[in-house]
């Protein structure tokens, strides 16, 4: 059990620290943008560092703790003395270096290794910076010492001379909603052990008994101990406990200590505590009134839980099954013709609930791109610093939700593209000015949903790709497959995705090792996506990543052709028309086309394309659906429109995927359990 709880503590530590570090990074970047550290920011950094210091010390990660300690001192100085002359960029660099260090150590810890990175250089430079600040601002601060001064406790006055064995009892109260009180209490005990001769604590079975959490919440966590150390020292250890709300510390006689130690806690108190705990337990079980609500106000830590994706998929399938089963019940042929008012009501209720479950389950796997995009701010900052260019990052559509595994797969390619855009794409500030452009370059990161795809683009307003250079390079490396004069611009640009291509004449630290673009391409292909590039000389370059959704909900138009049902993504549909005076044109090859408001759409009769026996063969009998996808216009001729519906895109089974059926991107289950195929408008063009 204790080993288990140790692991649990480690998990909590990693999770909390990751969150804190993320927050820290955001603060630093934000502050850097505004050119100064606001009071709030300084306070916040101080608080975070203090937290990290405490928890790292508790987990015995000495290097992390001392790093955080150094930072804390630094920000303590900033907070207390508000120095005028501060080189904020150096400060940001220092903090970010610290952030990176902590991140790297967390990775190690996660991998099962200890945190063993050498921190001395970093703490050294932090100290140096602090000294420099102090000298610069003409003030000698008491610095770090001061940082650890906490609200005096009642007992502090009777300072105990060290070396004599004396006994104390401490009652610790944790912050409301900090969760895992028992584990935290256990941490306190573990820490104290090193400093005290002997100790007892109540509740005694913190790890085994779930009720103990309630007791700690209500009455605090009581530790009695005998020690030879000065009270001051012990007190500061206790003060450093995470999420400590309040601490009562009082001296007791050694006799009292021994008595409690031997006989356990006074009966009365224990009984009362039990009762209290039971009452609380009962209240909780009583399906949450106001009390419950209070309990649920907690850290983000407790509102997140990681779940195996396989389980989610299974759940997803089960819900699909349930929807079908529900339809089988409510639309059961045995019920036909019966007047069942009550049944109908109950069935509608069931339908509503299943619909809701379905929505929730589908949203489970979806994660907004926000964090990935925000991470890129850091990349932009670091890269622009290194190459000495001024860059602004613009984020569009960062709330776009995509499947979790897509996020994991596009992070690296994006980072690479952004570095490239800054390193190769953007010009130096002076050159930009000379060209009449804004001095600061802009990199735009944009995400949007496009039918079954998520499209993420990285756009810069730099010099654009140099066709001549690309061609020269391609010639030299024998990468051309066609005569040069037959290549379109797009084809030329696409050459940069070939393995072993890098146009940068100077290989820089950041990009240009010649392994970049083809790796981006490979990464995307591994998740079934594509990457395209377009560019205008002097105006900029745009890379477009198109990633298929493994699980997508799209709005679709249900149509039928003969007995077959199809879904066309609403996004692609421009309008639907019946043949009334619109011109049908037939070219000499027998290809039909339709003119609608000066646009000419080629007509595809789905019934002929897929050889389905169709009801509507005469053009007057059916419906024309005008679609447009990536500037490709197609008009489908179908029998009927059946209505609009939200559908879940499912991949075709493996056997069919290998056959690459033209124009079908996937399939979906309809409410009645039948399957409908989803048309990929883009697939009809070629």
């Amino acid at each position: 059990m204790s080993g288990n709880s140790g692991e649990q503590m480690l998990d909590v530590f990693i999770f909390e620290t990751e969150q804190n570090v993320g927050q820290l990074e955001a603060i630093v970047l934000e502050s850097e943008k505004s050119g100064r550290y606001s009071e709030d920011a300084v306070n916040e950094v101080f608080r975070i560092m203090h937290t990290i210091k405490g928890s790292a010390a508790m987990m015995m990660f000495g290097n992390l703790s001392s790093l955080a300690h150094g930072m804390e001192d630094l920000f303590f100085y900033l907070r207390e003395y508000k120095p005028k002359k501060v080189d904020y960029s150096v400060l940001s660099d220092l903090v970010l270096a610290g952030v990176d260090f902590i991140k790297a150590e967390l990775q190690k810890i996660k991998g099962g290794a200890g945190a063993d990175g050498d921190v001395s250089q970093l703490t050294g430079s932090i100290e140096e910076f602090l000294k420099y600040l102090q000298a610069e601002n003409g003030m000698i601060a008491e610095g770090g010492e001061e940082a650890h001064k906490f609200p005096e406790t009642a007992v502090r006055e009777d300072e105990i001379r060290a070396e004599r064995l004396s006994a104390y009892e401490a009652v610790l109260y944790f912050d409301d909603g900090c969760e895992m009180e028992s584990v935290r209490a256990y941490g306190v005990v573990r820490q104290l052990r090193g400093f005290v001769d002997d100790l007892y604590y109540y509740p005694g079975d913190i790890l085994e008994n779930d009720d103990s959490v309630e007791i700690i919440r209500k009455q605090g966590f009581t530790v009695g101990f005998s020690t030879r150390k000065p009270l001051r020292e012990i007190s500061s250890i206790l003060q450093n406990t995470l999420f400590l709300k309040d601490l009562e510390l009082r001296a007791i006689t050694l006799e009292q200590f021994k008595e409690i130690k031997e006989k356990g806690f006074p009966e009365r108190e224990e009984a009362a505590a039990k009762q209290e705990a039971q009452k609380a337990g009962g209240k909780r079980a009583g399906a949450g009134g106001g009390d419950r609500a209070e309990d649920s106000i907690s850290l983000p830590a407790s509102s997140m839980i990681s779940v195996n994706v396989a389980k989610l998929d299974k759940l997803m399938d089960l819900v699909g099954e349930m929807v079908i089963a529900e339809a089988m019940v409510t639309q059961n042929p045995d019920l036909q013709g019966l007047e069942l008012e009550n049944f109908g009501q109950a069935a509608r209720q069931l339908q509503k609930i299943t619909r809701e479950i379905q929505d929730i389950v589908m949203s489970l796997r979806m994660v907004p791109l926000t964090t990935t995009f925000l991470k890129m701010q850091r990349v932009v900052r670091d890269t622009s610093r290194k190459v000495g260019k001024e860059v602004r990052l613009r984020l569009i559509g960062e709330n776009t939700e995509v499947d979790k595994n897509i996020i994991e797969n596009i992070s690296d390619p994006l980072m690479h593209l952004i570095r490239n855009a800054i390193d190769h794409g953007l010009e130096e500030p002076e050159i930009r000015e000379a060209l009449g452009k804004e001095r600061t370059g802009t990199v735009t990161l944009e995400a949007r949903n496009d039918g079954n795809y998520v499209v993420v683009s990285v756009r810069d307003d730099g010099r654009g790709l140099d066709k001549e250079k690309i061609l020269r390079k391609a010639r030299r490396n024998n990468l051309l497959s066609k005569p040069e004069d037959e290549l379109t611009d797009k084809e030329i640009y696409s050459l940069i995705f070939l393995p072993g291509f890098s146009t940068s004449e100077q290989i820089t630290e950041l990009s240009g090792r010649g392994v970049g673009m083809d790796v981006v391409k490979k990464n995307l292909e591994s998740i079934g996506g594509t990457v395209a590039v377009d560019s205008k000389k002097g105006r900029g370059t745009v890379f477009t990543l198109k990633i298929p959704l493994t699980l997508a909900i799209i709005e679709g138009m249900k149509i039928n052709v003969g007995n077959s049902l199809f879904i066309i993504p609403i996004n692609d549909i421009r309008e639907t028309v019946r043949l009334t005076g619109n011109k049908i044109i037939v070219d000499p090859d027998g290809n039909e086309m339709i003119m609608v408001r000066d646009s000419c759409y080629p007509i595809i009769r789905l019934s002929e394309f897929y050889s389905i026996p169709s009801a509507a063969t005469k053009l007057e009998e059916g419906v024309f659906i005008l679609t447009e996808h990536d500037d490709n216009k197609v008009c489908f001729f179908v029998d009927e429109l059946l209505g609009q519906q939200e559908v879940v895109v499912k991949a075709l089974p493996g056997y069919l995927r290998r056959r690459r059926i033209r124009g079908i991107s996937g399939c979906t289950l309809l409410g009645d359990g039948s399957i409908s195929l989803i048309l990929d408008v883009g697939g009809f063009v070629n």
């Binding site: 089960l318 079908i324 897929y610 033209r662 039948s674 399957i675």
Partner: protein, 165 residues
């Protein structure tokens, strides 16, 4: 303890080994290794998919999973038989590819020891491309199907179709 476990898993392996599901297509008995058989279901409403060979009848929704359905009769170029309530679909899964095989009738599960199986005769015509063995146990001859070939051997099939045309 370790020894027992080993034996257990050995026996577990053994329960699937040499077990075959026997089914009939056009009065011929076929056997398929039981380890590839997931379940047997009745015929279900199907959605036809364009651009596929005629023996792929369509796809069905098997409790949320979409499974293509292959008519074994058509696959072996036998005349098509209308589906009835008694028509069976054997869901097989191999190398993460699922497929429903429509057969006339499912008979039984039987054990066919390896030494009861002989190699098919080397004749280049007919359908013994998909037969990897012949079992003479019991009254009639049973053809042991190569599940993998049935699921993946399209290219060969397509080529031969072209030649026939």
């Amino acid at each position: 303890m370790g020894g027992y476990e080993m034996e257990d898993s050995y026996y577990e392996e053994d329960t699937l080994k040499d077990k075959y599901l026997i089914f009939y297509v056009a009065e011929e008995a076929f056997a398929i290794e039981i380890r590839y058989v997931m379940e047997i279901i009745g015929i279900q409403p199907m959605t036809s998919v364009p651009e596929l060979p005629d023996y792929i009848r369509g796809i069905i929704n098997l409790r949320g999973t979409i499974v293509p359905i292959m008519d074994v009769r058509l696959r072996f170029k036998k005349p098509f038989l209308e589906y009835t309530d008694r028509t069976c679909v054997i869901i097989v899964e191999m190398n993460e590819i699922s497929m429903g095989l429509v057969v006339d009738r499912v008979a039984e599960v039987m054990t066919i020891p390896e030494d009861e199986i002989v190699d098919p005769p080397e004749i280049s015509k007919g359908h013994n491309r998909y037969v990897k063995g012949i079992c003479k146990m019991g009254e009639d001859v049973k053809l042991i199907l190569d599940c993998n070939k049935i699921l993946t051997d399209d290219e060969v099939e397509q080529l031969s179709q072209i030649r026939e045309v």
